[in-house]
């Protein structure tokens, strides 16, 4: 540190301002009205911090930095322009990139400093590299599953958890040995390699419906590894940004696991998707009532209050724009239309809200579970589009159900329930949904997009 005091201070001040802007950025994100200002604050903070860093006297060569910054921008722009339906896999991919950066810097720092790395430094460095590398491969796997280049079904085998935890355990033991003897540099590749393998193994048993929790968790890991990197580099700015990201991911993970009625430790140790095998046994044919688009349209048109419950099936069918036409057609007739959104609907936290907002549905009509549940008893029609388990009343009543205790949207309390569904097949978890057999339930069999389109045509709306 032979910098001139002046430059040094300027750099530190840019970091200080950047930190404040980062916190403001998240604070402004709390409401849709101020959220865009939040993005601007974040951008400004980032720009200041990078500009400040480039002033460092210690930097002797700019060529590669500039090339890398340009290359990153070239890769980043298309990643910022993906379709809204692809946002979950984009998010997973960006967790992978963040983790890659942290792991590479951690690795280089180790080899630059070895053999005399202080104990605590070695400890946080290990944490940085372990979290970073498992987040890297874990997120790549998650992105692959979401993009459907990898099989979406969870793959489980006997002793999976023991093998996984064993792997992680070995990595931690090796890290411990390195803390004791940092000069044993030949051990270092192990605390990169084993977590890389662990990241892959961790995601293998995960199915699509568990993705919201997993993405949140990986988000948290990415943040924590960045904070650890902050300790290694003694950068308060990085510690704070990492802590904010870690906290955010942690809160989202807790929300998601609550919404699926899983304990947080269950989530933390990657024991996702374990409980499904028990279900899918009693598959007797019970009578259901079905309806045509004309009948559905007539009932909807006569209603005063309609709540639409979207799920991942709506995203798969790309039905959100048709749903918007339905919303318009009903609103024009004076029907009060709202949307009830379960926290784990879709493939990441808030996924449904983004898709519906993209379809131009006003955000004050998008209500989360706690806000909407009190309204179902006064609702004439609850229209379920591509959601299944999150509406299953067995979660409330049937103690033997695998999803018993999971908070659900109480659509069965509405006067009439309509469910748009392709077939009677069970949902992701293979759990039978008694909702479909209620007297008040009408099954609307068909593709969500074309079925909603037909209803809209019957209502005399639509742009066809």
């Amino acid at each position: 540190m032979t910098n001139l005091p002046g430059v040094e201070n300027i750099i530190e001040i840019t970091y200080l301002i950047a930190t404040a802007l980062f916190i403001l950025s998240l604070k402004w994100l709390s409401s849709p009205a101020t959220a865009r200002r939040g993005v601007f604050a974040g951008e400004l903070g980032m720009l200041l911090a990078i500009a400040g860093t480039l002033l460092h006297r210690g930097i002797v060569e700019y060529k590669w930095i500039v090339i890398a910054l340009m290359l990153g921008t070239i890769i980043g722009v298309p990643l910022g322009k993906v379709a809204m339906t692809a946002v979950p896999q984009r998010t997973a991919l960006s967790h992978a990139f963040g983790a890659l950066c942290v792991t590479l810097v951690g690795t280089a720092e180790f080899y630059l400093r070895a053999p005399d790395v202080p104990r605590f430094m070695m400890g946080v460095l290990s944490l940085e590299v372990i979290l970073g590398s498992l987040t890297f491969t874990g997120s790549l796997m998650a992105a692959g599953k979401l993009q459907e280049v990898l099989p979406q079904r969870p793959i489980t085998y006997k002793g999976q958890n023991i093998i996984n935890l064993g792997l992680l355990g070995v990595a931690i033991v090796v890290a411990g040995m390195l803390v004791a003897h940092p000069e044993k540099t030949q051990l270092f590749p192990l605390i990169v390699g084993i977590p890389l393998l662990f990241g892959v193994m961790m995601i293998i048993p995960i199915g699509g419906a568990d993705m919201p929790t997993v993405i949140s968790l990986l988000n948290s890991y990415a943040g924590l590894s960045a904070a650890a990197m902050g300790f290694v580099l003694d950068s308060k700015l990085l510690i704070i940004a990492g802590a904010l990201d870690g906290a955010s991911g942690f809160i989202l993970s807790v929300n998601m696991s609550k919404a699926m009625n899983r304990s947080f430790s269950n989530v933390l140790f990657g024991a996702f998707g374990q409980e499904q095998a028990a279900a899918a046994t009693k598959q007797e044919a019970r009578p259901v009532r079905s309806a045509t688009p004309e009948e559905a349209a007539a009932i909807l048109a006569a209603a005063n209050k309609v709540v639409i419950v979207p799920g991942y099936g709506m995203a798969v069918a790309q039905a959100q724009h048709k749903v918007r036409e339905l919303y318009d057609a009903l609103t024009k007739r004076g029907v009060d239309v709202k949307f009830g959104i379960h926290p784990v609907a879709g493939r990441m936290p808030g996924h449904m809200n983004v898709l519906l907002a993209e379809a131009d549905i006003p955000y004050d009509k998008l209500l989360d579970m706690d806000e909407i549940n009190g309204e179902f008893p006064q609702t004439d029609v609850a229209l379920v589009i591509g959601a299944n388990d999150v509406t299953n009343p067995a979660a409330r009543t049937d103690a033997s159900s695998p999803i018993y205790g999971m908070p659900i949207l109480d659509v069965d309390k509405a006067r009439t329930v309509m469910v748009i569904k392709r077939t009677m097949g069970a949902g992701f978890a293979g759990i039978e949904n008694p909702l479909y057999y209620l007297d008040k339930t009408l099954m609307l069999f068909g593709d969500a997009k074309s079925f909603v389109g037909s209803i809209v045509r019957e209502l005399g709306g639509g742009h066809e």
Binding site: T53, I59, W64, V77, A108, N219
Partner: protein, 101 residues
């Protein structure tokens, strides 16, 4: 050194508390943009990568340069992509104003 470390731990703890309090208030409506924004902010790790790639190292200079450069690319793509998509998403959230169709 020891004092620095303790200060860093205090900073981490306080930032975590601020994070919890601020992020608890973010409406579930905006959880997807929240994740993409925190991801972009997290890419401030680029600062460490820039120093790694640019500073003089007596030994291991090649390693530092290669890893540092890749790390800058990864982080920058998160910064650019993250802010872009967050803003795109937020622009879509509109209240039902008077000009309702």
């Amino acid at each position: 050194m020891k004092l620095d470390l303790l200060t860093s731990l205090y900073v981490f703890m306080l930032a975590a508390f601020i994070g919890f309090e601020v992020i608890r208030r973010v409406s579930p409506l905006l959880h997807t943009p929240l994740m993409s924004l925190t991801n972009a902010l997290d890419a401030i790790a680029v600062v460490g990568a820039i120093l790694l790639a640019g500073e003089y190292h007596a030994h291991g200079a090649m390693l530092a340069k290669i890893l540092g450069t890749i790390a800058i690319v990864a982080a920058t793509s998160n910064i650019v992509g993250g802010f872009l998509i967050t803003d795109r998403m937020l622009r879509m959230f509109k209240a039902s104003g008077p000009k309702k169709p």
